[in-house]
Symmetry: C2
Subunit: 353 residues, 2 copies
């Protein structure tokens, strides 16, 4: 397959800390419920997982925000729980309750019985979506592939769904750490092959979502989350189609641990809004690029307050290479799509060199 | 009233960074549902607020953990939401749902109409409890008084109860910051008079619980949470009965902001488990003592793993003055009371000079 030339490579250049004409911007969960066209597509698609499994639908919703806004990257429409689902845990979504598993894993026996899902078999539908989206993008912007971190996946798999305190997994972690390591090892292997398959099918950058690593004590973070993300990074294809495939590590609430995260060999760190970009930049130096870090709640404000906050964050980062603008967490269903436009346009306007 | 001599002042000495024979320890929510005797008292007391309003009951449950364990401080049994309740918002607790308000405040008009509750009137029952507990303690250990931070109280008052993302309050904060400042100003005034009354009635140390300040961006934390805690600290009685009344500031998730928190003039910072004690100590120097920081989930582990974690944290803090051992958040209902004992005894055993 001959691939079209990438027309907008700001995002990839910034991740490599190269100079750019303006700061690239995308939004976590940019293909989502805040968009009326997304809600319309969802209506016709059945369940959330049906939408993920249908490459045409996944492609359609991935492209929706790009049709509206001058975004600098697309992200595969999928879910971090595709892997445990492919392990046979019976993923389903309950209205207003978030994800649930029919068969949570809580013992060594449960975990030993989990298969490593085939990235081209059980998870082949994701690769199909990646290829389809990549083709449809036609070189417009780069496509981001992603996966959840082993720790984050484990929280859902052991708790059986979302949790506020991760009681069951933490209990297992403090009582039988070796059992949790068994699970995390299996997940690191699965995530590595899953992400490599995404890269082979056309993902041009990778983000690892460690949504819940920030709930750990600092030594436990290193032992139970960071160690396994390190394993994944060590096993990833780092160059494809003659270009580097940058890896972004995003531990929400990980602002105290940036030095260790940067030492994994990733290319960029995702930051939430609790940290100053300047402080983060000084701490990681030239090791990695930084992505973030506006509180998504800023989008509930007025257009003027959104523009003010964008300006503040750009100034906070300062006149350096290596900034990808983003929200510090996914955009929420309650945001006015016109406010998202104000945000995206302000990033470009205020950062134009 | 002649007060008995304080028999165990380790806790107050550590907060003043004086030498101690062993590291003092207490647990947030130590009078709580993990204790069978607490559950028995609750059964006879009606609602949670009925329990808070009855000085004899409040005293009984405050003392329960001290009967079981060699704790170095008692904390008033009460709730941070007594102030908004006394403002007439109609606090109630729904089983499994946490606190709720019948009449949340969401507009300038709502907020203007809120009265500043009288610490000796509407909140007189709390002062009654403080006096009763102080008398019953008979100099055994110091009594901690407390309040929620203005920002934290505002989250419940605007959202109408617990929240994961503080959507309504953050929307108001970004759209009409002056309205939120009006609320926070009123709360700072109420909290100051409330805490001063607790001190006059016998509280020997004060903790300000900023449970949700960590959800803010770093500039918003300074403007909407820290600024108002600073106002409170500036207005507090700092010496009583011929002894300093130390103030502990606890912003959960505030590990990136310790320098600014220490600059408020508080005596100690409460730390959650995401930060290294050594790192925190180096950053705040001799300015403040540190309280914390074990993950309460460690108590789900085995006695050996609990002892190991206690040792690790003591070593992490190192051989310096100014450490009060605590959990990084409240003890949960699921903890085995014998594990709490292992924890408390290990702190004393491993830290004995």
């Amino acid at each position: 397959m001959t691939l079209p030339v990438l027309k907008n490579d700001r995002f990839l250049r910034a991740l490599n800390r190269e100079s750019v004409d303006m700061t690239p911007v995308w939004m976590m969960r940019q293909a989502g419920r805040y968009l009326p066209e997304y809600r319309a597509s969802r209506k016709n698609a059945g369940s959330f997982m049906d939408l993920c499994r249908n490459a045409e639908f996944a492609c359609e919703v991935t492209l929706q925000p790009l049709e509206r806004y001058p975004l600098d990257a697309a992200i595969l429409f999928s879910d971090i729980l595709t892997i445990p689902d492919a392990m046979g845990m019976g993923l389903y979504f309950e209205a207003g309750e978030g994800p649930r598993f029919e068969r949570p894993v809580r013992t060594a026996k449960d975990i030993e019985a989990l298969p490593i899902p085939g990235a081209e078999d059980e998870l082949g539908y994701v690769m199909n979506a990646v290829s389809t989206i990549r083709k449809a993008l036609n070189g417009r912007v780069p496509l981001i592939g992603f996966a959840g971190s082993p720790w984050t996946l484990a929280t859902y798999m052991v708790e059986g769904g979302s949790s506020r305190d991760f009681r069951l997994l933490k209990e297992l972690m403090y009582k039988q750490p070796e059992v949790v390591h068994l699970l995390l090892d299996k997940l690191a292997e699965s995530v590595t092959s899953y992400l490599n398959a995404q890269i082979k099918h056309g993902a041009q950058a990778i983000q690892i979502f460690d949504s819940w690593g920030g709930a750990l004590s600092w030594p436990a973070y290193r032992e139970f989350s960071l160690q396994y993300m390190q394993k994944i990074i060590d096993g990833l294809i780092r160059e494809n189609e003659g270009r580097k495939v940058p890896v972004i590590l995003f531990t929400k609430g990980g602002g105290l641990w940036l030095e260790d995260m940067a030492a994994t060999g990733c290319d960029a760190l995702g930051l939430d809004w609790t940290i100053s970009m300047e402080n983060a930049r000084q701490r990681v130096g030239d090791k990695v690029a930084l992505q973030g870090n506006m509180d998504p709640a800023v989008l509930y404000g007025s257009p003027e307050s959104i523009r003010k906050e964008v300006k503040r964050i750009l100034d906070d980062f300062g006149p350096h290479n290596g900034h990808v603008f983003n929200l510090g967490h996914g955009i929420t269903p309650f945001v006015d799509p016109e406010h998202a436009r104000v945000f995206i346009e302000a990033v470009h306007e205020f950062s134009a060199r």
